[in-house]
């Protein structure tokens, strides 16, 4: 039987349960709301409503002589990296291109140096061959080819000529490769320049082109190889004929019986008799230039050819005495005054033509002796050289002319 107290308690039970039910109901409502919101988000994301259509035409009320609006062109290649990443990769690869170009340029310099050496070597051999031809009184091709010394010299000339020519093959390849790399790099650089404001820039394409160029233009031995057999060489007969003719008509360097012997000593490092040379072959000039001597006294030399002067200009010594030279060919002067020594004695020089004077004015040395100078067309070149701080020794008459030129 229920008591009053039980009746009183009965309503108290639901009174205690109501907040719990409310909490549950509230949680359910929140959960439903979250689910609805999530569903709406998914729907909106999937449908991506656009406020402005991507391909909307320009507004009808707007007339600004508008050019057709640029539309991006989809890159041909599949994109896996972002355009910015591709651009960064291209920039990095441009450095690789530059490095490879430097390697190629260095190789090119080496080849040009080798060609220069071969050219000079050929001239040296020709010089020597003419001397032997004159000395052995050879006047026919048959005699020349039978003479073992001459025949050997001719073969060496021929070989060097072939090598000289053959180097054009790798040289051409390197020049072409270097230009190719430059072009690929510059093309990419132009697109990098406009990349931020342009559509359709195919950086991936540039990356591929750069990669291919780096592979294609690697200077491996196979690509730089030469094929001497493919070079049409001048026959020994043709070479001999030309040299016999030159020995007969040009005369070459006047006979100096002791010269080969002295030059052989010089080439083996003994310069004790260098001052006795009255003529200088190209080989002799090269050996002198290669010596470690600080001073060279070649006062018996009466002539300096442009090629001889070119060879001597590479000598790293300090004082060069060539007081026997009375006249200096402008071409020889260009080489001689390119020499990087400090002190030059040319006291036998009597005349200073304008062209020679211009080369002299540019010489970087510190002391110049021209005590034999009798005339100069223009003393201003001497004044110009002296004004750069060099010490100039000249006769009084020339000094007066220099002073006058300096005063003007």
């Amino acid at each position: 039987m229920e008591t009053d107290s039980q009746h009183d308690d009965t309503p108290s039970i639901p009174a205690q349960r109501t907040p719990a039910k409310r909490t549950i109901a509230l949680a359910a409502l929140v959960a439903i709301a979250v689910v609805c919101a999530a569903a709406a988000g998914v729907w909106l994301h999937a449908h991506k409503p656009q406020l402005i259509p991507a391909d909307a035409a320009p507004g009808d009320g707007v007339d600004l002589n508008a050019p057709p609006e640029p539309k991006p062109i989809a890159p041909v290649s599949a994109q896996t990296a972002s355009p910015d990443e591709d651009a960064a990769a291209v920039k990095a690869r441009l450095n690789d291109l530059d490095q490879l170009r430097q390697v190629l340029e260095s190789k090119k310099s080496a080849i040009l140096q080798a060609k220069h050496d071969y050219r000079y070597g050929i001239l040296e051999l020709e010089d020597e061959t003419r001397r032997v031809i004159r000395h052995a009184r050879i006047d026919s091709v048959g005699q020349a080819l039978k003479h073992s010394g001459v025949e050997s010299l001719l073969r060496n000339i021929q070989r060097r000529q072939i090598y000289f020519e053959a180097l054009d093959q790798p040289l051409g390849w390197i020049e072409s490769a270097s230009e190719g790399l430059l072009y690929v790099g510059r093309r990419a650089a132009i697109d990098l320049l406009v990349q931020d404001v342009a559509a359709g820039v195919d950086m991936r394409g540039h990356l591929m082109a750069i990669g291919q160029a780096l592979e294609r233009y690697q200077p491996n031995p196979g690509r730089l190889s030469i094929d001497p057999a493919s070079i049409p060489a001048a026959s020994l007969e043709v070479i001999a004929k030309g040299l016999i003719e030159q020995a007969r008509t040009l005369g070459g360097i006047p006979a100096d019986r002791r010269r080969p012997e002295i030059e052989a000593e010089i080439c083996s490092g003994n310069l004790s008799r260098a001052a006795e040379l009255s003529t200088l072959s190209l080989r002799g000039a090269r050996c002198l230039a290669e010596s470690d001597a600080k001073q060279l006294f070649l006062n018996r030399l009466s002539e300096l050819t442009p090629l001889g002067a070119e060879a001597l200009s590479k000598w790293t010594g300090e004082w060069l005495c060539v007081n026997g030279i009375a006249r200096l060919d402008p071409e020889a002067a260009a080489h001689l005054f390119a020499w990087r020594g400090r002190w030059l004695s040319l006291n036998g020089l009597v005349d200073l033509p304008p062209e020679t004077g211009k080369h002299l004015a540019g010489w970087d040395g510190r002391q110049l002796e021209l005590m034999g100078l009798r005339q100069t067309a223009d003393a201003s070149d001497l004044a110009k050289w002296e004004s750069r701080g060099g010490r100039l020794f000249v006769p009084d008459a020339i000094r007066s002319a220099i002073d006058r030129a300096g005063a003007q």
């Binding site: 600004l64 002589n65 991006p72 062109i73 072409s176 132009i190 320049l193 559509a199 359709g200």
Partner: protein, 199 residues
Amino acid sequence: MNRNPADTGTKLFSNARRIAALLLLWVGTALAAGAEKEAELNLTLHNLTEAARLVAARAATAAAVLAQLQGHSEALEAEIQEERRRVRALTLRQALRVRRIDYNLQLMQQAAAYAAQLESRLAYLRAAETRLNSYREQVRDDRVMLRTLDNLDSSFLLSQVRETIEELHRQCTVPLLVAGKADGIPGLETLWNDIVQGR
């Protein structure tokens, strides 16, 4: 029936109050409408200024890239001139045998095509700047008129301005040029002749 003068006075006063209230309501409404229009014009002026700033920035970007491209082209042309003198090339055929000239001409073509597009965009942006300035003046004039007369219908102007600003916002986000577009690429012969004649 005699009316009480006090009642009549009360009625009159009451009517006058009503009329005054209506008048005040009308004036208030008119003033509120005028203020709203002025606020709209002010907002439009602000939007025009912002749009002009955006267009000017875009034009400056275009001009800067264009200047750099022109610098590139000049450097390429200088190299061509040097090579031309060195190899004594007179005709395009002779010139194209020199790899550097050939490549540089191709690069100049590329740069010229880009420059043409940039110049076109630049012209568009400059025209847009002029148009925005013109709109700014018109809106300012309308504002003066509105302040003077408390009423002016600027809805047509404002709608034009809105369309223009929207369009310019859109145009300022599209690329200034499209790579690979064939339009505006000068022929090699044209380029070469210009170089030879020093144009």
